[in-house]
Amino acid sequence: MISLADADFLALIVMVLATAPCIYRVLYGPTLPDRIAAEDAMGNALVVIFGLYAYRESSIFLMDVAMLLAIISFVGTVVVAKYLDKGEVL
């Protein structure tokens, strides 16, 4: 039986390990859509890491970082998706 403090530390370790395949796919992805999907997944994993760390440290400040990262990661993914679809951004 693990306590709650150990449980969120375990979740933090799992989320950090989850970014490793994303980094591999960003570096060695054969095509550009592979890299973009991996970058989006890594952004979401980072948002979860910030949220878990804010909970673990009992601090509200890192939740601002998590929400900003979520919004900016979404905007970046939409921009690159339109570039891949139409060939131009604006």
């Binding site: 919004i71 900016i72 979404f74 905007v75 939409v78 339109k82």
Partner: protein
Amino acid sequence: MTTVITKTVAKICLMVDMLYSIDLLLIGGNRPGGGFIGGVLCACGIGLIYVAYGYEDIKKIWNPDWHSWFGYGLLFASITALSPLLAGHNYFRSAFDIRPIELMGYEVGELELVSSMFFDLGVYFVVVGGLLFIVTKVGTDKVKDPEGGQ
């Protein structure tokens, strides 16, 4: 123009962006936040609308001069930074005051008024104007030859 899913999500995301951008602008100073990151978030929301609906269509409805926003924001921030010299204080000196909020004779809270808020507002307009000026100028630059030749 993009699909209807992108347009709908962009509208929802624009509202969240603007609210959170104004929130970050107002809480700056005591907590993480401030004019710069609020401006970045505002530029992100407007840029997302430009991407989702197309720059040419948005330009018919609302087309401000983003470089003027940059210039007026810089002027506003500079005037705010220089104004303590008139009162004999140091450059960039900020003043603050705490006023009680009264509602029907009862004191319900207190409002902290700081003069560095105006400097943050100038930085906000500088960031919004600068980022969106770059986005619109670089985004509408048509490439003559996609192979890279002249």
